[in-house]
Amino acid sequence: MSADTPPVRDVDAAIREALSPRPQPKPAGVVTAVLTFAWRALLKIKHMPEQLFDVVVTPIMFTVLFTYLFGGALAGSTDAYLQFLLPGILVQSVVFTSVYSGLTLNTDISKGIYDRFRSLPVWSLSPVLGTMAGDVIRYTVSSVIVFLIGFAMGYRAEAGIVGIVAVILLLDLFAAGLSWVFTTLALLVRTPSTVMTLGWMVLMPLTFASNVFVDPATMPPWLQTIVAYNPVALLVTAARAILDGAPAAGPVMAALIAPVVVTAVFGPVTMMLYRRER
């Protein structure tokens, strides 16, 4: 502790020794740098597991509440509704989690650590990609939690473990693609809470004007049209097809259009904004 400092001369010798010239390694390459920043994201989860609280609790709350609240009225029984609802809740949970990449980025930039990262001799975007890679852990945790609560309530995945893993991978891809929107947002607004608010304003309509909770057949035609093109709805359709063991290639392709387009557009925008002087 600083309160009982050893005699100054010893410390001085230690500092001299620590600063003595020695061969310097070559700075980390792109892959090492990105992985190192992903490790940083994991350390943050380790030190602040409460960060995962809403990733865990929100899906549980939604699954339990909606199943028992609407199940009987919407699908005749809570069991039947759970079969329909679970893939939807899965998508909703993971999609909401994708805002986190933006939050982390915005927090870093508002602190001095951003200058430190930028003055390092590593590829300048590795902090962004590393953060996004670390966030895949969140998406996966969120998915696993929803499946666990689903199984506890009686959900059956016809496609078995292979289908479950395939859906989790699909969701990871979709959320990672979507998160470029929020990293862009994070570089344009001042505070993390603004990123959060704007993120919710984008995600609320996307998840509710969809087939997450109900079959769109009873919706007015204009809303049905929106749902038909809503990327979140397309993802839910693909997830249901995979988990039901139905032919899924077409729906999966349709679901991946949005993340690919978002990445192509917002990826470069994020990079440009991140490199901008500030």
């Binding site: 400092t5 410390v11 620590a18 020695r22 350390l43 602040m48």
Partner: protein, 326 residues
């Protein structure tokens, strides 16, 4: 490669504008290798912007800057390999432990797993942080955080270290410790460019000092040269009765034949002295002329007094400080 003979920093007409504001306005610097150079100025003077330009975080709007022989615009990656920056605000991750912070940076700088951990532990021990290594940085005191911050800049033993206000907000003991570390660094052959608001700090550490105001260098020289232009000491007196201050000011200026000005304190007066020995006679003269004093002291000129002497106006600590970020 750098030529060893090239100066650590050499700028000509270095300029950075943000919109209409010229944050750095035609700065010429020449910093010798192996020296400690100080940029002295109030908030918003352009110190941080200058450092950020030299550390390649900003691109100059005009002028040139060479750092360790490399042009900051043409070869920023070469500059980045040889310099380290310790920013004004802690540039470490508060959520991680001290050790994790150093291991993270060591890995980015190319140390492999075991070597990264060894380097982190070596620095933690040297900077007296070994016992706190496993604690999150948010639990550190200001002095510990600063030491970690500086240690983080020294993982790859840079040739040039930028320290932006390294002791602002530290208690005197921690400040002294940071000064010791800076001196040891330079003993080891590094060059240090530090910014400060304290003349005393520049005086203690720096071989040469540039005083910067509104983005311009308004004076440059050794500490002794600067102080010669300001007076070698400053006498502060505090009157028992603030109402007699104008009369006391005229009396003191007449008695000393040197500049005297009113301090922020409504009962205070500040006099520049070319000969500090005259302080005692000035205090005695004031008292014998009926000006009752509640306090007096002889000190070094503060940044304010340097500014007053050099510019004729007090240092403005502007709120809109054009430092690039708020």
């Amino acid at each position: 490669m750098t030529t060893p003979s090239s100066p650590a920093v050499e700028t000509h007409g270095l300029t950075k504008t943000f919109g209409d504001k010229r944050a750095v306005d035609g700065v010429d610097l020449h910093i010798r290798r192996g020296s400690i150079f100080g940029l002295l100025g109030p908030n918003g003077a352009g110190k941080t912007t200058t450092v950020r330009l030299l550390a390649t975080l900003l691109r100059p709007s005009a002028g040139t800057a060479r750092v360790l022989g490399h042009d900051v615009t043409a070869e920023p990656h070469l500059v980045r390999r040889r310099v380290s920056l310790t920013g004004q605000f802690a540039s470490v991750d508060e959520d991680l432990t001290g050790r994790e912070n150093l291991v993270l940076l060591a890995r980015l700088l190319g140390f492999a797993g075991r070597a990264a951990r060894a380097r982190a532990d070596e620095l933690l021990a040297a900077f007296d942080l070994a016992d706190a290594a496993g604690r999150q940085v948010r639990t550190y005191s200001g002095g510990m955080r600063r030491r970690l911050d500086i240690a983080a800049s020294l993982i790859s033993t840079p040739d040039l270290l930028f320290l932006d206000e390294p002791t602002t907000g530290l208690d005197p003991r921690s400040r002294g410790r940071v000064w010791d570390i800076v001196r040891l660094l330079v003993d080891g052959g590094a060059t240090v460019l530090l910014t400060t608001q304290y003349l005393e700090e520049a005086d203690q550490l720096c071989e040469r000092i540039a005083v910067i105001d509104h983005g311009r260098v308004i004076a440059e020289g050794t500490s002794a040269e600067l102080k010669a232009s300001v007076g070698r000491g400053v006498l502060h007196v505090r009157l028992a009765d603030p109402l007699v201050r104008p009369a006391a000011l005229r009396f003191l200026a007449g008695h000393l034949g040197e500049p005297v000005h009113a301090a922020d304190d409504p009962a205070g007066l500040t006099a520049q002295l070319s000969d500090p020995a005259r302080a005692a006679s000035a205090v005695a003269a004031l008292a014998s002329s009926g000006f009752r004093l509640s306090d007096f002291s002889l000190g070094q000129p503060s940044l304010d007094e340097v500014f007053f002497a050099l510019t004729g106006h007090p240092a403005e600590t502007a709120a809109d400080n054009g430092e690039g970020r708020g």
